[in-house]
Amino acid sequence: MYLVEYLLLAAALFSIGVYGVLARKNGVLVLMSIELMLNAVNINLIAFGAFRGNAIGQVFALFVIAVAAAEVGVGMAIVLLIFRNRASVNLDEVDLMRG
């Protein structure tokens, strides 16, 4: 198995995540896209860890998973908050402040 295969897979997932974050208007879908990006990072970390023959990559990945869980929880709470006040989760309508 070639290291670069994993890295390219991760790069592809990361870029797809970027697309989703930029193109999706629904807040929940944006959060899902963010998870794609973080997951790409994890694949990188595990692959590099295996390549380097140490467990630090795995440890790093575990921290990323834990933090990502916290992030998605907080993000969901904020999206809910916005939904409650606006009855919508469309992010492109959130533009009271500008300039």
């Binding site: 970027v18 974050v21 930029l22 208007k25 944006v30 992010l91 492109d92 959130v94 533009d95 009271l96 402040m97 500008r98 300039g99």
Partner: protein, 685 residues
């Protein structure tokens, strides 16, 4: 006192806080503290002066015919802060120059304080006014006694802030607050030069701010000439801004919006001379940097040119002013031009001496103008509308104003004669004949416009307020300072006149002697032919103006502006102050700052979003075409151009909205990818 000179600025600084804290609870609402503080400073300054004069002239410099005995400057400093291995020191550096300035500032400030108790009586911000005066005085005293250039910056900026508060003291009128802001910002523009100059010289002199070291290194040739030139040019910016030299002189006449005693303090005797002081304190730097020591006929230096231009253009402007304080303001600008020009032609003593004498008669004139408006013209400063014939009602004011005017005009044997003469003779002697001529023209104009001013105010028929309200003499708190200043306007010149040269001996210092020594410049002695020429010039100025106004003579010139289009045009140019303000406000501020700001805003709003949206719209349009072709729905798409239906038109409009988080995100990723590519490409190769 020379060893404890730090007390002199410290006392008014402490008084500032005391007035702020307790001023309102005192019976006099705070002026007691201000007067006590400045009075103490003045007394201490006088003690310092006596000690300085009594100090033995134990430093011998030069040889042969040029041997000079000078007093050693008293320097005390302590470490202020360290950055790395560099110790920045703070302290006092007292020599003849500092002592002269300390005495002048202390005296003028004290008189202004006393005068203000009457003039500002019942003002709503009386206490704050005195607090600001104290801080202002402390700033100037800090500046003149500082041993480090960084410390000078502190005094310099403190004065800037105080002048902002004092000029805008009556801010209820928008005009006044605009004037305050203008003064602050204009001088700050010059201050950038100060900061740059400080940085350059700090590093050029081995990371020190010590002014003595700067001068010594500059004169000793330890710093490259190019660096000194850059430093001097940068500092010249500060001098031009603070001392209201062309082309940054426009703030000073506007700054007359402040209360009159403030004008006297700030704009005649202290703040504006800060630039001149900086110049003379760091004379070694300027002297070498601008190659002032380049004797030869027809030479010129940057400061001399700036000063010369300022003398003429400001004097011309003084002719067309109807506001008495503006006449005095332009006169101040013109006289500051003399000082800067003098420094530029190597007439160091002349410049300082002119600074010294000018402080007395200009303060006297400003306070006199204040007295006129206070008791004679019912708070008006308009000479044409509300004054005239006041000499009968206000004899003391008239007499003192007249004396000060004659002193300013340079009439023998009053103060201005000696100092101006000193400058002109030195300029001629040092090979700067052109500037001697400029100075003579300026002297003629000075005499003429001051005659116009005196005539309009005190002679002729009473007009407007001077006729309607009963003019009377001002109270003693106002006239007493006038009398003192008038007395000094008569006598101060003798310190360096009649062949005495006390002033020159007292103020001369190592820097100066070194500078002159190196190039064989000598401070020339009094010269009769020159004196007679300058007296004749000044006298003819007075005479012509007198004939024009009193005798209505010089027929062809009377009301020339009303009859001749060219003259009218020229007068308009003067009235509009050479359109410099228009240049600054309409062209520079509105034309550059505005569009830049708008441009940046527009860039933020339009370009960034526009790129985002444009890319989106463009790509979307392209996508539609492709899609349509692939799906063979050509008809629909082709007819509607790029496939814009009405709905998409609406989308287009809505796209212009901003504040959208995902556009921000697109900028984040776009910048990340672009920067990343650039870095990988440039660094990686």
């Amino acid at each position: 006192m020379l060893d404890h000179a730090w007390l002199i600025p410290a006392i008014p600084a402490v008084m500032f806080w005391l007035i702020l804290g307790f001023g309102k609870r005192l019976p006099g609402k705070g002026h007691e503290l201000g007067i006590a503080g400045v009075g103490a400073s003045f007394v201490l300054s006088c003690v310092a002066a006596v000690q300085w004069i009594g100090r033995s002239t134990d430093v011998t410099i030069g040889e042969g015919a040029h041997v000079e005995h000078v007093r050693k400057a008293v320097e005390h400093s302590t470490t202020w802060f360290d950055i790395g291995n560099v110790h920045i020191r703070v302290g006092t550096y007292i020599d003849g120059l500092s002592v002269a300035l300390l005495v002048v500032v202390g005296l003028i400030s004290l008189l202004v304080h006393v005068y203000s108790t009457a003039y500002m009586h019942d003002d709503r911000r009386y206490t704050h006014y005195f607090a600001a005066l104290s801080l202002f005085t402390a700033g100037m005293l800090t500046l003149v006694s500082a041993s480090s250039a960084l410390q000078m910056l502190f005094g310099w900026e403190a004065m800037g802030v105080c002048s902002f508060m004092l000029i805008g003291h009556w801010w209820e009128e928008k005009e006044n607050s605009n004037a305050a802001l203008k003064a602050f910002l204009t001088t700050r523009t010059g201050d950038v030069g100060f900061l740059i100059g400080l940085s350059i010289l700090f590093f050029a002199n081995g990371q020190t701010f010590d002014v003595r070291v700067w001068n010594a290194n500059a004169l000793g040739g330890h710093v490259s000439h190019l660096v000194l030139l850059m430093g001097a040019i940068a500092l010249m910016g500060a001098v031009v801004g603070k001392s209201a030299q062309f082309p940054l002189h426009t703030w000073l006449p506007d700054a007359m919006a402040g209360p009159t005693p403030v004008s006297a303090l700030i704009h005649a005797a202290t703040m504006v001379v800060a630039g001149v002081f900086l110049f003379s304190r760091l004379y070694g730097v300027f002297f070498t940097g601008f190659s002032i020591a380049a004797p030869g006929h027809g030479t010129f230096t940057v400061p001399a040119v700036i000063g010369g231009i300022t003398i003429i253009i400001a004097a011309l402007l003084a002719f067309v002013q109807d506001d008495i304080k503006k006449v005095l303001a332009y006169s101040t600008v013109s006289q500051l031009g003399y000082m800067v020009m003098a420094l530029g032609v190597g007439a160091w003593t002349g410049a300082i001496f002119h600074l010294f004498t000018h402080a007395f008669f200009k303060a006297c004139l400003f306070l006199g103008a204040g007295s006129v408006s206070h008791s004679g013209s019912h708070h008006s400063f308009d000479m044409k509308r509300d004054m005239g014939g006041l000499r009968k009602h206000m004899p003391i004011t008239f007499a003192t104003f007249g004396i000060a005017s004659l002193a300013l005009a340079g009439i023998f044997p009053l103060a201005g004669f000696w100092s101006k003469d000193d400058i002109l003779v030195t300029a001629g002697h040092n090979g700067y004949e052109l500037f001697m001529v400029v100075g003579l023209i300026g002297a003629f104009m000075t005499a003429a416009y001051m005659t116009r001013c005196v005539w309009l105010t005190f002679y002729g028929e009473p007009r407007g307020a001077a006729a309607e309200h009963h003019p009377h003499e001002s109270p003693a708190a106002i006239t007493a300072p006038l009398v003192i200043l008038a007395f000094l306007s008569i006598t101060a010149g003798w310190l360096n006149g009649f062949g005495f040269h006390y002033f020159g001996h007292w103020t001369t210092n190592e820097t100066l002697v070194h500078a002159l020594e190196r190039v064989n410049l000598v401070e020339p002695r009094f010269s009769f032919p020159a004196a007679i020429i300058s007296l004749a010039v000044a006298g003819s100025g007075i005479l012509l103006a007198w004939l024009y106004f009193e005798k209505r003579a010089l027929g062809p010139l009377q009301d020339l502006a009303a009859r001749n289009a060219l003259a009218a045009r020229l007068k308009l140019v003067l009235v509009r102050k050479y359109y410099l303000d228009d240049l600054y406000e309409k062209v520079i501020v509105a034309g550059i700052a505005g569009p830049i700001a708008r441009g940046a805003y527009w860039f933020n709003q339009t370009v960034i979003d526009g790129v985002v949206n444009g890319a989106g719209v463009g790509a979307k349009a392209a996508g539609h075409i492709v899609y349509d072709i692939i799906d063979q729905k050509v008809v629909d798409g082709a007819i509607n151009g790029a496939g814009f239906t009405a709905e998409e038109g609406g989308t287009l409009l809505r796209i212009i909205q901003t504040g959208r988080v995902q556009q921000y995100a697109a900028a984040l990723f776009g910048a990340a990818a672009l920067f990343g590519l650039a870095l990988v490409f440039f660094v990686g190769t």
